[in-house]
């Protein structure tokens, strides 16, 4: 049976937590064979970690309040809204939005239903509706994990 979990000093990666994929030895396997690793090989900033891809709450998550992982924001044409999230995400976040199906396409006129996130703060961002009709956007927040431009 292969070693699957290491909490300690790995020859490649140093101290941390490592979990390998099935049949791979966590002590020696290649990067792709690690299901989880606290080292990501960045020069000078080891252990920033890649972490797991998961949504962070937009509200709740404390005490007996269950975390809420998505929210909807309705914005008038050419207007802005303010989706909020927990400060766990700091300002290094990726907001992922989706919206209802576009209406008015194929009718001989421009229909712009694009939207833009900007001014990412510690608890909220600005969401701009670039379109010509009111739009409801559902947003999920992911933590970008590192302050480096590229991590």
């Amino acid at each position: 049976m292969a070693n699957r979990v290491l909490i300690g000093n790995r020859a490649t990666g140093g101290y941390g937590l490592y979990v390998s994929r099935l049949t791979s030895d966590v002590l020696t396997c290649a990067s792709d064979k690690l299901l989880f690793s606290t080292n990501h090989g960045e020069t000078g900033s080891n252990f920033v970690t890649g972490g797991h891809f998961q949504a962070v709450p937009v509200s709740g998550g404390t005490g007996t309040n269950a975390p809420v992982t998505s929210q909807t924001t309705t914005i008038a044409a050419s207007g802005t809204g303010t989706p909020s999230y927990q400060d766990i995400a700091s300002t290094q976040i990726m907001l992922w939005g989706s919206s209802p199906a576009l209406t008015g396409a194929g009718e001989g006129s421009n229909v712009n239903q694009t939207y833009t996130y900007s001014s990412l703060g510690s608890t909220s961002a600005t969401l701009t509706n670039n379109g010509n009709a009111s739009r409801t956007i559902r947003s999920v927040t992911f933590n970008l994990l590192s302050t480096s431009a590229l991590f």
């Binding site: 049976m1 699957r4 979990v5 979990v19 390998s20 994929r21 099935l22 049949t23 791979s24 290649a30 990067s31 792709d32 690690l34 299901l35 989880f36 690793s37 990501h40 090989g41 960045e42 020069t43 000078g44 080891n46 890649g50 972490g51 797991h52 891809f53 998961q54 975390p67 290094q92 976040i93 990726m94 907001l95 992922w96 939005g97 919206s99 199906a101 576009l102 008015g104 396409a105 194929g106 001989g108 006129s109 421009n110 229909v111 712009n112 239903q113 694009t114 939207y115 833009t116 996130y117 900007s118 379109g131 992911f142 970008l144 994990l145 590192s146 480096s148 431009a149 590229l150 991590f151």
Partner: protein, 165 residues
Amino acid sequence: MATNRVLAGNRSTGGYGLYVSKANSNVLTCDRKELLFDSSQKRGGEVYAGGSQSSIGGTSSQSFLSTGTKDNLGYIPLVIWTEDKRGEFAEVDGDDEIYRERQDFIETTTSTIAPKTLGIQISPSYTADSGIDNRDSGESCTNIKFMVLKIPCAYGYMTSANFDT
């Protein structure tokens, strides 16, 4: 009563490994869908690389392996991204009309991401300066944020060799 949330050991479903359950779920017995981390799965959503760029210029690409000693994974990975071109667009230009479910196309390789346009809608009256680019901005993008996951996601790479071992 507190619930068992973390297991490093032998789980009845999954075998030896590391397991973390969601809140209020017993890591020893819960369904796999209730696990936040499950080392018995073939692939997981570990973030391998990523970042935030104010722009990537037309015809340019951004390496996501450019820091430190990050290895090439050997396949084209799944990249999750967002940028200023989110959303749908339907545009009319003379006799042409083009609908785009997404403007924010990117191309990924084993080491780079690059904004791309899928070309130009060509009409019967096509001339060199007519038509509609799907991005409306050449092949550039702004305010892109992305994460590279250790999951193969391209033709030729979604194989048993990459998923089962």
